[in-house]
């Protein structure tokens, strides 16, 4: 039986993570405004556009945008991984220890490898891996139970 305190803690953590994700998406929208500002600078008359002040501002803007994107990427990944761990922790409570260590452990290791692979489909790949792991753990758990009862019957 899962202690109530643990469940309440997990739920609170999930809500906090969800709120953090939302705030990061908001920041991304702000970055969109920064792009508009950049486009505005580019449309300025040549003498104005090439003034040291405009160039300095533009460079600052571009650097800030790059830093923000990097930070977003890292934060989102850490949060995604946290969320994945949380989901797997729930499985951990239900399935036998050996299955949890082996299959959930391998799934988490695979997900950390996915982080290093480039591509826009990474989040989808992680979600698919989590879902398929859940499905196969349930099936394998049933298979194990069946094998154990079969073994006991033949004894």
């Amino acid at each position: 039986m899962i202690p109530l305190a643990v469940r309440a803690f997990s739920l609170r953590k999930m809500v906090v993570l969800w709120m953090l994700r939302r705030s990061i998406r908001e920041n991304r929208r702000l970055i969109g405004y920064a792009e508009m500002t950049q486009a505005f600078f580019q449309r300025l008359e040549v003498p104005h556009r090439e003034s040291p002040e405009a160039i300095r501002l533009l460079k600052k803007l571009i650097r800030a945008k790059e830093n923000q994107a990097r930070l977003d990427e890292r934060t989102l990944w850490v949060m995604d991984f946290d969320m994945v761990s949380l989901v797997f922790e729930v499985f951990n409570l239900i399935v036998p220890r050996r299955l949890a260590n082996e299959e959930i452990g391998d799934a988490m290791e695979h997900i950390s490898r996915l982080r290093k692979s480039p591509g826009p489909w990474r989040s989808a790949a992680v979600a698919t891996r989590v879902l398929s792991t859940g499905f196969w753990i349930a099936i394998n758990c049933l298979r194990e139970i069946r094998a154990a009862t079969k073994g006991r019957k033949s004894d």
Binding site: R98, L99, E102, G105, M108, E109, T133, N140, R143, A147
Partner: protein
């Protein structure tokens, strides 16, 4: 047509190279077969546990790692019985498909005529 190689045979062949854990064995089979045999998580873990029950492989837990959420890897290696089974499987496959392609071509029309 599906690939006729069973998960157990593929795992036995992969373990001939040395000990390994689930994820590593999936990659090893994929590389060894040039991408022809792809084991999924639905087939590899039950097959490994069956092989262990049959006494063909033995397993032990390694050190827990952070990237696995503090869970240890489970390593597998062939037992003496497993090595013999791997050799037997190889012999059977070679006996069935190991004949030169020319010989198979020559044998086929006569088999059809008969």
């Amino acid at each position: 047509m599906d690939n006729p190689v069973t998960a157990k045979a593929a795992l036995l062949r992969a373990l001939v190279q040395g000990e390994g854990f689930g994820l590593d064995l999936i990659d090893r089979v994929k590389v060894m077969s040039g991408g022809e045999v792809m084991l999924g998580q639905g087939s590899v873990y039950p097959a490994l546990r069956d092989l262990e029950r049959e006494g063909l492989v033995s397993s032990w837990e390694g050190e827990p790692t952070a990237e696995r959420g503090g869970r240890p890897r489970r390593y597998y290696k062939l037992t003496a019985l497993g090595k013999r089974a791997a050799l037997d499987t190889r012999r059977t496959v070679m006996a069935l498909f190991g004949a030169p392609v020319g010989a198979l071509r020559l044998a086929l029309p006569s088999a059809v005529a008969r």
